[in-house]
Symmetry: C2
Subunit: 754 residues, 2 copies
């Protein structure tokens, strides 16, 4: 937004966290560019002293209607009806066909894709439905609430290292975390008020702290989303294997399969709405409340005297470091609380007010679930074991192995799956925002035909699978990596809010600033704690990832900036051909010069300036052509290429590369038989190479006359079946690649269909 | 040869088994084609009533000297010196650079390749040196002689299934095999006389029995060569692991490593000559003679009474089937005897006489080694064991574990390595002959810059590694697959010789015919025996491979024939545009028609006949152009494409694809600002796709005016670093692929270098 672009990229809607519109990839022109555009246009006008062919009438009626033709559109969709002139009704067919890659395996893949993903969706399907609070609550809080499935266990897994003494610290640490939840929740209420269009960490930090902190926040968020998938899937798998221990050895492939399913579903364009998505969260909340309720009744029956935990072996003594590590691990129960503040626009009006209410409900439920579970664990003396989750032990202890136990486990697995799915919505969205701001490859801005950011989804799945497999699908190992990214984003977002209030000083800003400052400080404490105490345990992975993401994003932006500058209609681009190069320097070609080497003449000719850097723009009349046709043998494909070249009405030179002198002589014979209508040059290449001599020759031509635009006409044999493709040399494709870096060389392929 | 081609493909040298020359891929023109060529030439002449631009002078001096420029050639090579006009001396640099793939990883790969393979070699380095008999003997007989390292063992491995009774059959079976060796050897003496230019099975069977049997023989040979590599490497590895049992568990990766080394060495262009290659064979022969001599002395000391073999468990009873299986397995000791008859031209004059003498020596040594080893095994009571080869047991029993034992094993491993290397010379040669005759992809005809048929070498290595790994590097499992291919080729080759003598009836033909007939019958007996008795043990793999190779080769030839017919300068190709399409049908385009839909006009226009099938050739004046420029946004790259399009002096139509109507409106605004110099058509594509609407539009244009040649001008952004490539959409490449199947559509890429 800071780079002064106008048009689609700069609306208010765009600047907030909403995903960019399809047109965002096409930046508009600013006034300077428009000026240059007009100037270039005038240059085209001025030289038009004689009517040129390209100014004459078109031989066709260009109005081919719309795409796809109205007649082809299924009647379900709203569609602008446009006159379709002179067209066979094959638009939808063409859409299907043109998307088909021409190769056989590709076509197979395409069909598989359609089967898996369904038919393309129109852009207008993007309009998202508004959600009632009771629907938004489960959908948006799945990530946060599901965290209690692993948060308490992660805390206990650290404390148990110090034995029974360590475990006694669980209640005070949990109380601190609950306090943090309330604070951060309050802080996000301020964010919702300030950013009613959606206040993601990238937006808030970027708006208030600057581009770089915003980028760091985005990198932290992206790392967080990758880990959300990995941790949720691993915890979900653990919930399942706790019930069915026989599946335990297959937990890694199981988890990978779940991620693959999420990938397929999201490529198909699952929306994060609907009752289906509300069910698991409510089921989980019900299950947890039942568990806590039953636990409290049991505890009351025992007179609230805790069952002593089994004596675990003492590995470490209790110290500040251990307590801090437990605190950092337990804080993962807070991950996901930012979801509602990102998604304010999905609420019904008044959006921000409804969002705040929903956030309050969510924080309330979260605090109750988290505290309740920790207290219950304490009373029941449950400790983490390798083969069963703490939650599973608790449920089994409370309900036995009956259907209530299975319900608890199933709803836990379901809500964790839903939490992982949330990341599939959020990661590509953040990535598309980065791409809109040129921090990520453009391709992440491209919506697939199912309106999903397919490339972002694939990237997330790949990263999640890698980290899941590397950490062997083990929740305990993944937790230390998790916290850093989340709390980095929290800290930057809250700090951004502090700056926001300080700058605006609107109504009640002092109170808001205080709350956000508290949130920022607490988040920063967790961030530093996690980074320091768990650096070697895995936090370094997250920190490295964030660093690399920031680095790569910065370099990508730099590259795009450079390309934009190079492509911009800047005044310098049209200066030289009109003023700096006087007409006298441009050589006139006459028949008398034919065949005479003009060594003296081209010695004084100016060398083409920076062949790859600043190529100057020219008007059509300033372009001087030479057409070069490499001919392998005299067959119909070469004849067609030669005829095409000659029909361009520019000087043509045919080029033949021979492995031997004898072959060269033979070819010259054929050329003479044909009539020798065009100048022919034979290059003998004793190394059997074809590409190198051609490139060499073309370069020499360019050095001889840098002002000429050389058009290379390549005949290309096109076969019908992909399996025949490998039977033909890919000379045309290889030549195209070889000529690509050359200055002022245009490559034309004349197909010959067999 | 039967397809009536003249020129490089048809010389006597070519028709024999010698590898085809570099020019073989370029077939000459026959008289009919030359006639058509002249006719096309006249058509170009006739229409030249006005001097066209392409007939005028060239703006450049086309004489750019030779490639690479003489100044750049290293003084060691003989080189034709040609005047180099106006060229910077960068030829060799260009050779290097132009061969460099433009991408970074590709460049790295290129450098690794140069390091591994060395600098390019000139074609003239192909002239092969002649070999003295004493050098040719070891080089050409490594394959045959090394077979005794696994042949006897393979025989015993079958016999031992019937216990001691079975083993007693070893001497008579070995005697039969020795007799066969002599007969086949005699038979190949006849082949050498008849084919002094080299008589491989493909050549002999193809010449005398017809194209299809020749192809079957070639398929058998190729299967054989793949198995020669696999079996030799596995037997060589076994020779090594017999000495160092600790290496035994690593035998599969060890073997794969050896094949990889052979691959690298042969890509570098190892010649199968030189003292280095003679050494292992002589060492092996010396070692074997020493072993047999010492064994005979030992046996004499014991009064020639055999040591009884340990009582093996009896699994099968002795029967005809078992004996025949043992016979077929033992016959693998004969593999490789055809090598000398393939390579007659490498001998010093008189070639065939020297080759015959060498063959006689080889057969003599082979029979002595084979018989001696079998007798020695019998006397010493040695039987196959899993962990030590029979040869190793024999050597250890005779020499103890001292240096002589190590020498025997080392020379065995070395000669087996050399035998495997022989296949690396022969397989690509046979494949290149097939490619010359259009039975294999052209690419196998292409010699790499180290004068090696790189693609054939890579194919062989891949196939050998696959079969080696699938059979777990176990010689005993591989043997049943081996014999079928060899004896298929032997049988067809010898049958071909019978036909040869019968047709020619030259001097002493009766005797030669009898000898070859005997060879053919005996080979056929082994072939049938092997195919029947070992079908389930692995022979089916070889038979399936041969069948598939023949099938694929036939289809490849059919495809090439079809393409040749389509590309041929046939009279039909020029008929239509000159006579069948009267000038009145071709529409004249006037300015008045601009913007008016000509529905009525194009209703009567003839539909373009078979868009992909028979496209007719045209003279330059008969080609009518329409240039289409897809424009994404107004930047310098599009401006350049537009200027280039207009400079072609043909009607130009600009095309813009918009995701929304708003964007379309915005773009039209920019177009007006520029001056609207060219007609613009905006296609709104609500599915966010770009390729499909463009293809659809172009197809509609083609339907509207099938006589027009549509030239699509695509601006393409070319970045300097490969790592930046993925940051830019590959729209140009994707459009090129999408347009490729369309009739009369030419694609031009105008690069813009950033």
């Amino acid at each position: 937004m800071e780079d002064g672009r106008t048009g689609a990229g700069g609306t208010r809607e765009e600047r907030s966290g909403a995903p960019p519109s399809p047109a965002a990839a096409l930046p508009g022109l600013d006034d300077q560019q428009l000026g240059v555009l007009r100037q270039i246009g005038r240059a085209w006008q001025e030289v038009a002293d004689t009517p040129e062919a390209w100014r004459r009438a078109l031989p066709v009626d260009p109005d081919q209607g719309t795409f796809p033709p109205a007649s082809q559109v299924r009647p379900t969709g709203l569609f602008r009806h446009v006159r379709v002139a002179g067209m066979g009704g094959t638009g939808a067919e063409t859409l299907r066909r043109a998307e088909l890659p021409p190769t056989g395996p590709g076509r197979l893949g395409y069909r598989a894709r359609r089967l898996l993903l369904g038919a393309p969706l129109r852009s207008t399907a993007l309009v998202r439905e508004r959600m009632r609070k009771l629907l938004a609550l489960p959908v948006l809080s799945a990530d946060a609430l599901s965290s209690v499935a692993y948060g308490p266990e992660a805390m206990l897994a650290v404390l148990i290292l110090a034995g029974t003494v360590g475990l006694s610290y669980s209640l005070p640490i949990a109380a601190t975390i609950a306090l943090m939840m309330l604070t951060v929740g309050l802080a996000y209420r301020q964010t919702i008020r300030a950013y009613p269009h959606g206040g993601g960490a990238y937006t808030v930090a970027g708006d208030n702290l600057g581009r770089r902190p915003g980028l760091v926040a985005a990198a932290g968020l992206m790392t967080d989303y990758i880990l959300t998938v990995a941790v949720s899937v691993s915890a979900g798998t653990a919930a399942v294997t706790s019930v069915v221990p026989a599946l335990a050895p297959a937990s890694v492939p199981l988890g990978v399969g779940v991620i693959a399913l999420l990938l397929a579903g999201n490529l198909r364009g699952i929306r994060q709405a609907g009752a289906l998505f509300a069910l698991p969260t409510y089921a989980f909340v019900v299950a947890m409340f039942a568990l806590i309720g039953a636990g409290v009744v049991d505890a009351a029956g025992q007179g609230f005297s805790p069952t002593p935990a089994p004596q675990p072996p003492v590995v470490e003594s209790v110290g500040v470091l251990l307590v801090m590590r437990a605190f950092a691990s337990g804080s993962t129960a807070m991950t996901g609380v930012e979801a509602i503040s990102n998604a304010v626009p999905v609420f019904q009006p008044v959006e921000w007010r409804n969002a705040r209410t929903t956030l309050t409900w969510m924080i309330g439920i979260l605090v109750v679930l988290f505290s309740g579970l920790v207290v219950l664990i304490h009373f029941n003396g449950v400790t983490p074991t390798p083969h069963q989750t703490v939650l599973s032990q608790l449920a089994r202890g409370t309900f036995g192995s009956g259907w209530m136990y299975v319900f608890v486990q199933a709803s836990t697995a379901a809500v964790l799956l839903l939490a992982a799915n949330t990341a599939f919505n959020d990661f590509p969205r953040v990535l598309s925002l980065l791409a809109r701001d040129r921090y990520a490859p453009k391709t992440f801005l491209r919506m697939g035909d199912r309106l999903a950011y397919s490339n972002g989804i694939i990237l997330l799945s790949t990263a999640a699978v890698i980290i899941y497999v590397v950490f062997n699908g083990d929740t305990t190992s993944l937790i230390p990596v998790y916290a850093v990214g989340v709390f980095l984003a929290f800290t930057l977002s809250q700090t951004g809010m502090v700056v926001h209030w300080w700058r605006r000083r609107t109504d009640r800003w002092r109170r808001s600033l205080t709350v956000n400052a508290a949130g920022a400080v607490l988040s920063a404490v967790v961030l530093v704690t996690a980074a320091v105490t768990k650096f070697t345990a895995g936090a370094w992975v997250a920190m490295l990832t964030v660093g690399l993401l920031v680095l790569v994003a910065t370099r990508i932006r730099r590259h795009y900036k450079a390309v934009d500058t190079a492509l911009r209609l800047h005044p310098h681009a049209i200066e030289l051909p009109r003023d700096a190069t006087p007409a006298s320097v441009r050589p006139t070609v006459s028949g008398a010069e034919r065949g005479q080497p003009r060594k003296g003449a081209h010695a004084v000719r100016p060398v083409f300036p920076q062949p790859r850097g600043e190529e100057k723009e020219e008007t059509p009349e300033e372009i001087h052509h030479l057409t070069v046709v490499p001919v392998e043998t005299m067959h119909l494909a070469s004849m067609r290429a030669l005829a095409y070249a000659a029909s361009l009405q520019q000087p043509v030179l045919a080029l033949h590369v021979s492995p031997t002198d004898a072959e060269a002589q033979r070819f010259r014979g054929y050329w003479t038989q044909w009539g020798g209508h065009l100048p022919l040059e034979v290059v003998v290449s004793p190394y059997r190479v074809i590409i190198a001599p051609l490139v060499n020759y073309i370069e020499a031509l360019h050095r001889q006359r840098p002002d000429l635009t050389l058009t290379i006409i390549l005949p290309e044999i096109v076969v019908r079946h992909w399996r025949h493709r490998f039977l033909h040399g890919h000379t045309a494709a290889r030549l195209r690649r070889a000529f690509r870096p050359l200055a002022k060389v245009v490559v034309t392929t004349v197909p010959f269909h067999v």
